[in-house]
Symmetry: D2
């Protein structure tokens, strides 16, 4: 088992990516004992579904889910891994709030890994849930 | 059966959304006879997975899929509808290319609709496929 | 909020269905406080993937997932509800074992509900996971 | 590229499996030029959702989808491959009818393949759709 990346290293990986840097994704918590990673994102004007609504577009939430699943594996593997597929279920609108994405690895096999991701708002309400399949080795 | 929105009206709906306006999503083709909508997106620096890679981040592709499915229904219903859930499968990397998303409505029920979305690059290669469930009426 | 069905009532609903009666699905545990239902199934010869393998075919596991999600809602709603869609991820083979499916309701909205289902073998190993969207009212 | 299996060979593989033999799954059509396989299933009493309803339980339909996707690959690979995950969307009830499942391979990569499956009834109505990810090599 390799060493896990540190919070600083995961943040550096995120910041290197133009898309994730634009999204402003922050590492909130790393819990290697539970194979869990929590990312955080803050509202910015380009994220709005409708003007002056303060509501996140679903695409932003889906992107956050994909990234959280990916980096929950990256903190073990040492670098980002390709997403095979993922599912996003929208449960409630997210309005005028930060979002956290809690990614928990459910299974890591020889070639494939599965991660569950829960997205919450500032009031701890469940906004969306994701489930992703990733390659468990770097490409 | 209500009248379908025109290409101009669908483009206006897209442009009103801060997120979709930022993404620069364009209506490429409307084919009401086949309940099919084709959207197009062009690379911009914020979309890159890694710096100077020219490769789209998966979150951009997932967002395009969600929007194409939504607007394939919007052009019938007259306004955007809530996404219930959607699945994204990544088949090939998309590098230095426009992307088109071809959304085809598979079924519209009383309360739920299902749409398939194929994403192609400039060389007509299949980049990703999506399948989404949406509310078939406006919220 | 209506009263929840009793374990006896849920078992009766299961037994009424020719398919679920054939599968021999048993109610293992009802935990209304956590909106959680656990179903159990035992191997029978028709379930085998290959002859004399003792391994469940994936279709049996997917069926168990769909049913567990459905009945986690049925115990609240009072009768079975239509499945909109569901995803099944296979994590390990299931060989010479009972299976339990633990279904937990993640969200019940006005028209749609989402349920997560974990399938374990006798050694508490995670065999498969499911996620389903259901109509939250009876048809 | 290996030779494709013949219709007789695919049927033999199906018949060897206790579960698929119980389901009575028949090869309807093999179209190797389009990487498409059509399977057929007939109603039997154990498949009913409710007694004397003539309606297929969703688990039977999900099983048919999983198998059709798997065997669309098996006819190329030469033997069945493990399912990674699959999604089933139910579009209409299936009552007093045979079902066909048309499986079309969308992409075969080095380690992963993706297949779409459409399920129709005798009146050519679309009953359900599936999308599955499989290992593209035998385990």
């Amino acid at each position: 088992m390799p060493d896990y990346l540190s919070q600083h290293d995961v943040q550096s990986l995120l910041d290197e990516s133009p898309f994730l840097s634009f999204m402003g994704i922050l590492v909130d918590t790393i819990d290697t004992g539970n194979d869990t990673l929590i990312l955080r994102v803050k509202m910015r004007p380009e994220f709005e579904r409708r003007p002056d609504s303060g509501q996140y577009h679903g695409g932003v939430i889906a992107s956050l889910i994909d990234v959280a699943g990916d980096y929950a594996l990256a903190m073990r593997v040492g670098s980002v891994v390709p997403t095979v597929n993922f599912r996003t279920d929208f449960l409630r609108p997210a309005i005028n709030t930060d979002l956290t994405a809690t990614a928990r690895v459910r299974r890591t096999g020889r070639s494939i890994a599965v991660v569950d991701i829960d997205v919450h708002d500032d009031d701890k309400r469940l906004i969306a849930i994701g489930r992703g399949t990733y390659m468990s080795q770097t490409g």
